[in-house]
Amino acid sequence: MDNHYNIYICGVGGQGIIKTSTIIGEAAMNQGLDVVMSEIHGMSQRGGSVSTELKIGGYNSSIIPKQGADMLLSFEPVETIRGLDKVNSETKIVYNTHPIIPSSTDKQYPNVDSITKTLKENFKYVLPIDGTQLAMDAGSVLALNMVLLGAVTADDKFPLTKESVIEAMKNNLKPKFHEMNLKAIESGYNSIKS
């Protein structure tokens, strides 16, 4: 069962989650790995929870079973909590610490530091990063997804090389933005590696 790797990616509509996932999937394909992915499309309005599931290595179904993710990559703190049923004690949890406050006012938005603290009490690998800030440093808030993509490639168990992920990124995003996105990928990568 070598090279099996499941990534659950979640966040808020409009954050570039599907693009990020497609890039990982294409990179896997280019490395000759079996890969399937499931995405939620739906009403086109922005602002709802969005998730994708990527499974690398010989799976038929594109849905990750409960506690079956090797990596939980979340674009938003509260969405990290919502994704926890895919997580086991070995799962790496990487998440962007910048909150997006939903307009529904049924519950108070929890404090992000306490989210981090609670997660760390329960899981071995909890890696919060201020992806939004890193993206702005790279040139635009829109590069957030590439920061997080870089962060995934830094995981030792991740079966794809950074090079092939960058190749797939170039194939999917406008040349005009390659330089900024490269910077974003590097900064995400370094924030996990260091």
Partner: protein, 628 residues
């Protein structure tokens, strides 16, 4: 990937495709000439991709006004000898059903394929119906792909099958197949070009009323011919490579189709269960002999399928007809749930009831994590910042209040579109909903059966789809309600496809714009007003007038959806903090996602604000100002 590669890609190349993109490659490989649809998630991306590629691929493509029209476009093309394709979501089949049922009788000459995308667990639909029932009802073959490669291969094969038996063929996907991405290897492309200058080849219709006009004198024979075909096709499904076996299990077997097969396969594989699997990709006509052969030396069989127990019932028929001693576990005996989408966990749980192979290992979390999980705010999709529907809903609620009506005195009949989200507070603007176009018919019904006021809401695309005939009904039968056509210049909910109200067609060419106002007038409505939803005063005034009338009044709210590509964004509003007295009206009554209250202070998210000015009119204290 560049979408054009779906046309230019060579045989043997691989791409990481969405199921819906794979379907388009299947069409291109099959060399189709004509495609028509009405957009509906989960099938929508097929149309979005086709609309970009149609010319390169020599295909005529249209967004029809509804699924029935699309079915008729495809059927007539196919009967004229061209390969044609129509696609829709499961509920679209209901709209198309009237014509669809008879295409099975009249048959086709060129291949005709219908793709219908089911939506188990209703991610974006009003019901969970199973398209496979339509295959049985009409007596047409059905194929059920389970992954992206199969979507492409089955779409292509379906055309050959259709041409061979001169019968339309259904390809049934589900959300998880349409929206799955996987590696697809391309095959050969059949040439559909001709010496003609058109994007597509012209066919020819050879008249023969006895074959194509189902008056009673002819239709009886047509039905006989249809059954002859179906019996022959059953021989094909018995031998089809899409119905295949894996594994060596002697005691236990498992029959599955579509995405349910994927879950079952993974559970069997990753738990090393000794179960042999029969996958049915070609499930109607039911491959009886194949299934009987599979069952013959088994003791027990699981049937794993999503939505209705269709394969399960057919399996029971096989067992009964041959007096086999095989126990069936499926939906009917409660092994698997009878509704909603499956996943590996659900399938594993079902298998476990019989096989007891897995122990229950739940993880213990700290109390603070459990509390946190319970306390996170929900994040449902909302009307976008700057959406014109929000302004209308806000305005109508004010008008209702000003007229001294209580909310329970006004019934909101809603329809299928973004505006259905008006169901949420603070708008509470959806009380009843059946289907596309139903808000108008519902308006008729409520108006005769209650003394309440009725406000019906329908989108522009939905109005063209099926809002016009009930409006004619309303006028002629003197029904009294206010119909609002929310004309946002696009079919928004499915991702922004054109409709007859805008001057562009599905292939991106110029097209005559059909006027909703003139249509409403032509239906005989005396009160037809076109208003700007962002002019709050005008909105309220128009509703006040409309509610006082005794006939079917039509208000057309005309302003573009903010997600239309190429629109120039208006600058965000300015917040003058010193003027804000924290009345919360903007947050609580308008609920624009760009406005939130963080740490007791109003905050405008400039990256979201579309500068629509609605909040400026709502704020009585001048704390919000036009950014221009």
């Amino acid at each position: 990937m560049n979408l054009k590669e779906l046309v230019t890609g060579d045989s043997g190349e691989k791409r990481f495709l969405l199921g819906n993109e794979a379907a388009v490659r299947g069409l291109i490989e099959a060399g189709i000439s004509i495609a028509a649809t009405y957009p509906g998630t989960p099938s929508s991306e097929i149309g979005n991709v086709l609309s970009v590629l149609a010319k390169d691929a020599n295909i005529y493509f249209e967004f029809s006004t509804n699924e029935k029209v699309a079915m008729e476009v495809a059927a007539t093309a196919a009967v004229s000898g061209l390969r044609s394709f129509t696609f829709m979501k499961h509920v679209g089949m209901n709209v198309a059903a009237d014509s669809f049922m008879t295409t099975a009788y009249s048959g086709v000459n060129g291949g005709m394929v219908i793709l219908s995308a089911d939506d188990p667990s209703l991610f974006s639909s009003q019901n969970e119906q199973d398209t496979r029932n339509y295959a049985k009802l009409a007596n047409v073959p059905i194929l059920e792909p389970s992954n992206c490669q199969e979507v492409k291969d089955m779409v292509k094969y379906a055309f050959d099958l259709s041409e061979q038996f001169k019968l339309p063929v259904i390809v049934r996907t589900t959300t998880r197949v349409s929206h799955m991405r996987g590696v697809v290897e391309f095959g050969d492309v059949r040439d559909n070009s001709s010496n003609n200058d058109n994007h597509w080849k012209r066919g020819h219709f050879n008249k023969d009323p006895s074959k194509y006009v189902p008056v009673p004198a002819f239709a009886g024979d047509m039905h006989v011919r249809l059954w002859d075909k179906i019996r022959k096709i059953e021989e094909v499904s018995n031998k089809s490579k899409f119905n295949c076996e894996w594994g060596t299990g002697k005691k236990y077997g498992l029959i599955a189709s579509s995405s349910a097969f994927n879950y079952a396969c993974d559970v069997v594989k990753f738990n090393n269960l000794d179960i042999k699997i029969l996958k049915l990709g070609f499930s109607y006509p039911f491959p009886q002999n194949k299934v009987i052969e599979f069952l013959s030396d088994l003791d027990e069989v699981f049937v794993v399928e999503e939505v209705d127990p269709i394969i399960e019932r057919d399996t029971l028929v096989c067992i009964g007809s041959k007096n086999l001693n095989v126990q069936v576990h499926g939906k009917l005996d409660g092994t698997f749930p009878i509704y909603h989408e499956f996943n590996s966990d659900i399938v594993a749980e079902g298998l476990n009831k019989v096989l007891n192979f897995k122990e229950n290992k739940s993880v213990q979390f700290t109390q603070s994590l459990e509390k946190l999980s319970e306390d996170i705010p929900s994040r449902a999709p909302v009307l976008c910042a700057g959406c014109p529907h929000r302004a209308m809903y806000y305005g109508i609620n004010i008008a209702i209040e000003e007229l001294g009506l209580k909310p329970e005195d006004v019934i909101f009949a809603s329809d299928i579109g973004c505006y259905t989200l008006g169901i949420n507070p603070p708008y509470n603007a959806a009380d009843y909903l059946l289907s596309m176009g139903s808000s108008v018919g519902d308006g008729c019904g409520f108006s005769v059966s209650t003394d309440q006021k009725v406000a019906s809401f329908i989108g522009d695309s939905t109005f063209f789809h099926s809002g016009i005939s009930p409006l004619i009904n309303a006028v002629h039968n003197k029904h009294n309600f206010v119909l609002t056509v929310l004309d946002n210049r696009i079919t928004a909910m499915t991702g922004g496809q054109p409709n007859p109200g805008i001057p562009v067609d599905g292939m991106g060419d110029d097209a005559p714009e059909v006027s909703i106002r003139k249509l409403a007038l032509a239906c005989g409505c005396d009160f037809v007003r076109v208003i700007n939803p962002f002019n709050l005063e005008q909105v309220v005034k128009t509703y006040r007038e409309a509610f006082e009338r005794k006939d079917a009044a039509v208000i057309i709210s005309k302003a573009p959806c903010t997600l239309i590509k190429g629109l120039t964004r208006k600058p965000p509003v300015k917040f003058i903090e010193s003027n804000c007295n924290n009345c919360d009206k903007c947050v609580k009554e308008l609920a624009c996602p760009a406005i939130s209250k963080i740490n007791g202070k109003i905050t405008i998210d400039e990256s979201q604000c579309d500068g629509c000015t609605a909040c400026i009119q709502v704020c009585k204290y001048g704390a919000l100002e036009d950014g221009r």
